[in-house]
Symmetry: C2
């Protein structure tokens, strides 16, 4: 057992030097500035007090620096996980109640335990069952729901609803009670952030600012919006004119919290915790892998589970909420030159300073400003082009994506992701239940065999060669039986059927029984069954079976050997009984 | 639309002649004799009055003759389906109540509708998701439960229990109250039936009786046991000595019944009806296929669903119970020379005559006799050798089989089959989530490439060729990313990675995104990604994607072309940009 594998900090801490320190500190300053408004906003999205977002950006970052394998991933609250948190915890208790806060802590703890255990059991591959179209559809749908849910804060009306339609209808019904100062702030910040995204960087570049600082300044636009609108709200007394503001936020270090151990609550939250874990992990690991590859580094997905899991456990004991690796902040961290996870620990110090010193200043921060930063951030996740691309590439992938989007928008995040995963598995199983196979014939004058339907090839009426293009397992074994028996009944003068198995990696017990049935039925019809090009590991298993002894035909190294011997073109026998010979 | 396809009777009725009539009539007589005790026994096993078994062997046989595609399948009540019926209906009402009878009719109707709809929707492939080890384990476990549940009738004690352990414990606790005459009859019939199975046929053969009649006489042993013990019970007045007998059975034609349409009952029975449908269909279709193959006939699984479905609907309207094609009776029908489904219709006439005329005679039939015939029949289904064979062939198949057996024995038939299917799917998905792949090198002096770990082959430090041995889809796409990136980081001087795709039948949208990610990450590391031996249909799809345009490398017809060009051994370029060239 290699301690460096389970404590990745040992890989970089011993060689930590002054140059690396400088890069990491600079990156930490920039990420801190970006993370302050994000943390406040995503806590609000999750229905939690703003300081919870700050707390969730302190201890988890330090813990990830110890256990995580990505050098540049920045963890903390992210949009989609915050939405899922709100959906899960909202079913337990009303927003603002101590139970709501407690349930969020439990959710973080459970999610942390699930991730950590999955990592220890090396179950990272489970995340692979979330297909790209399902994730992409889920994130697009979540982005739309989040944006819709924040619109009310931007225009200053009341609205509620559990799905997109309800939200928009409720918003429409209350449009009469718009608060004008709120609308001005909200729409102003929206416009400013969009303009910053689109025009600020090109303008800075034209003014001669180098690329990287220009990029950093653009990414800092939200903090500018926060500062200006907070000052305006304070200076103009906007809270007295109906503009909702954050209000008093306690200054201080993260509290030590003990999540509740109520078994009823745990079982109610279990499915949500599992889905949050997997969605958060998938998002985080794909960011981590993309960034690692740019520097020819690698991350270990199973250890990443441990890194994210321990981060969530840390969040649950320090007044936080479920966290994961965020896309935009990790890119900023990487671009700002972070070299080791120490940058994350330094960011934690920065956020801690903010929690201690800046919280009195944000009492006048308008909610509309936070809502606008959320909308701009999540709408960049909405990828309608992916829907079109998926449609044109694969109809079955499109079906899974569409189902995910429709159910997520219409019924909720948990059902959406479960329907998407279920449907994509069902479609995959349906596809493999009809394995591709082709009757092949000999390309004249060569040893090659090709599909008789696509090529002009030699065939023989006493002999059919069927190339099997997939591993044989229970779901497709009977389909092979049907295919072979159809061939046998179609061709009256048939004497031999050869299964060419170059693409068969596995023959499971059901497929073995199907081969036995095929062999017996062909024997009853007076046809011999032969195999060709069986792979080594597959033949190893077949050797010890009854099928191998009862097979009416032989095993050939190559399809060409079978062709020659069964047509009587070879003088010496080219085959041996089952078991004595293997293809390699 | 071909009417012969949907009404298979049109395939054989127009040409029906006198010779066929003779064969079918003979087979019908033999099957009728065999079916009478079986029908009574399986009705008892299902907890239903004995006449229900006879009714279920009349109308369904006629309907199957119209809609079924097997020439020799004999439908009616069978052991496993009767057990599942008892388990499902027993949760609705106590045995003997009118509600119990009514629920059995509803179950037959629902099962009939499910099968028929699956047939019309061509969903016969769904049955393929019951793997052989799961079916085999399920039937073995069901056989043990059935045998245990009938033991009490054989030895004449009270016992009850929902799983094997409870049954046996309850039996043991009541052993003191054994009824001696019952025990003598039960054990006597058991011994006689076993002896008949083992010694009767060889003795008859030795006495010069030809093979087929000897076989038929052996199969008729149960009717002899029924006749002898009924006479004994009547002559000796055994019912007054505590021997349980069938009692008065109404004589007459099957009643017309109308299954209830209570939505609560329907939803309670839905899962059971679905499982009964699928288990019954799988059992029936495998018998049908085996027999059809012996005469080079074929059966159409989707039309078989319609045949079995309409038979069950017929059962539900004529006082019957769920039915399917039975193994032993179909073999007897086939061996007795049945040539068309008319034999089934004639059997129905025979059973109808029995329902009209013989029912008064079976009032004294001891329950112990029926129980003994059930035990002998179901223990022949218990296949402990299959457990050992599966263990030695495949551990994952064994795991699914064992789980099915343990859960069926310990918790019940429905949970057993669901756990088995779930686990076999999960294990299959796990296996395909780690696709087989191999780094290959050139066999010196040839155009062949083989696994570098198994063969002495040429390699090149600037070039890695990875042969991908499976279709790429969401569950294994990220594993490929990991594999490729591990190769790239391990070999510092690497310039080119070639994916040899001869075994890739499908690249789904997730795998396409993984290829895009691999391409982008390799580009960031200064390595080019190439493809070789891409199949036609796969290349057709790739051509229209962004990946195809962004790919850093090229597409080669053969691995050897890639090897030569990338090592600078060819003078003219052997590749073209993506899309301009395809492997065939």
């Amino acid at each position: 057992m290699n301690p460096k594998r389970y404590l990745p900090i040992l890989q970089w801490l011993p060689g930590y030097g002054r140059a690396t320190l400088g890069s990491d500190l600079l990156a930490a300053v920039i990420v801190t500035i970006m993370l302050i408004p994000q943390s406040l906003a995503y806590a609000m999205l999750a229905g939690l007090p703003p300081e919870v977002g700050l707390y969730a950006s302190i201890a988890p970052l330090v813990v990830y620096a110890v256990f995580g394998t990505s050098r540049t991933l920045a963890v903390g609250p992210v949009a989609v996980v915050s939405l899922m948190t709100a959906a899960a915890v909202g079913q337990i208790a009303p927003q603002g109640s101590p139970e709501y806060l407690g349930a969020a802590l439990v959710l973080a703890l459970m999610s942390g335990l699930i991730l950590t255990l999955m990592g220890i059991a090396r179950l990272g591959f489970l995340a692979n069952f979330l297909s790209h179209p399902v994730i992409s559809g889920f994130i697009t749908a979540s982005g739309l729901i989040i944006a819709a849910s924040q619109l009310k804060h931007v225009i200053g009306v009341e609205a509620s609803g559990h799905n997109l339609l309800d939200l928009l209808l409720s918003l429409g019904a209350n449009l009469g009670s718009v608060n004008l100062p709120t609308l001005l702030i909200g729409v102003g910040v929206l416009a400013f952030l969009y303009a910053a995204r689109r025009w600020l960087k090109p303008s800075l570049l034209r003014l001669g600012v180098p690329g990287r600082p220009a990029d950093m300044l653009t990414k800092a636009a939200p903090i500018l919006a926060v500062a200006v609108t907070t000052l305006a709200a304070w200076g103009l007394g906007l809270d007295e004119r109906g503009v909702a503001v954050v209000g008093s936020v306690p200054a201080g270090l993260p509290p030590l919290t003990l999540p509740g151990f109520d078994s009823g609550l745990w079982s109610q939250l279990f499915v949500a915790a599992l889905l949050i874990s997997i969605v958060g992990f998938v998002e985080s690991v794909s960011v981590g892998q993309t960034l690692a590859a740019k520097r020819r580094q690698r991350i270990d997905p199973d250890q990443e589970l441990v890194g994210l899991g321990t981060s969530n456990i840390a969040a649950s004991f320090t007044g936080g909420m479920p966290v994961t690796g965020g896309f935009s902040r990790s890119v900023v961290n990487f671009d700002a030159g972070a070299e080791t996870p120490a940058a994350g620990a330094f960011t934690a110090v920065g956020i801690m300073a903010a929690a201690l010193l800046l919280t009195p200043l944000i009492a006048y921060l308008p909610i509309a400003t936070l809502a606008a930063t959320i909308i701009v951030a999540v709408l960049s996740l909405v990828d309608l082009g992916a829907i079109r691309r998926t449609w044109s590439y694969s109809r079955s992938d499109f079906a899974a994506m569409l189902a995910t989007i429709v159910v997520t928008l219409g019924h909720g995040v948990e059902s959406g992701i479960m329907v998407g995963v279920g449907l994509s598995l069902a479609l995959h199983l349906y596809r493999t239940s009809r394995p591709h196979s082709a009757v092949v014939g000999r390309v004249p004058g060569t040893e090659h065999f090709r599909n008789v339907q696509r090529h002009a090839v030699e065939t023989d009426e006493r002999l059919v060669i069927l190339r099997v293009d997939e591993s044989l397992y229970f779901a497709n074994a009977r389909y092979l039986e049907d295919t072979v028996m159809a061939l046998a009944t179609r061709q009256p003068g048939l004497e031999h059927i050869v299964l060419a198995c170059q693409a068969v990696n596995v023959i499971d017990a059901s497929a073995l029984e199907s081969l036995e049935a095929i062999n017996a039925r062909l024997r009853d019809s007076g046809v011999c069954l032969h195999l060709a090009e069986v792979k080594g590991p597959v033949m190893d298993r077949l050797e010890h079976t009854e099928f191998c002894h009862e097979m009416t035909g032989k095993v050939y190294l190559s399809t060409y050997d079978a062709w020659r011997e069964l047509r009587g073109e070879s003088e010496a026998p080219l085959s041996r009984p089952c078991g004595a010979l293997r293809a390699t």
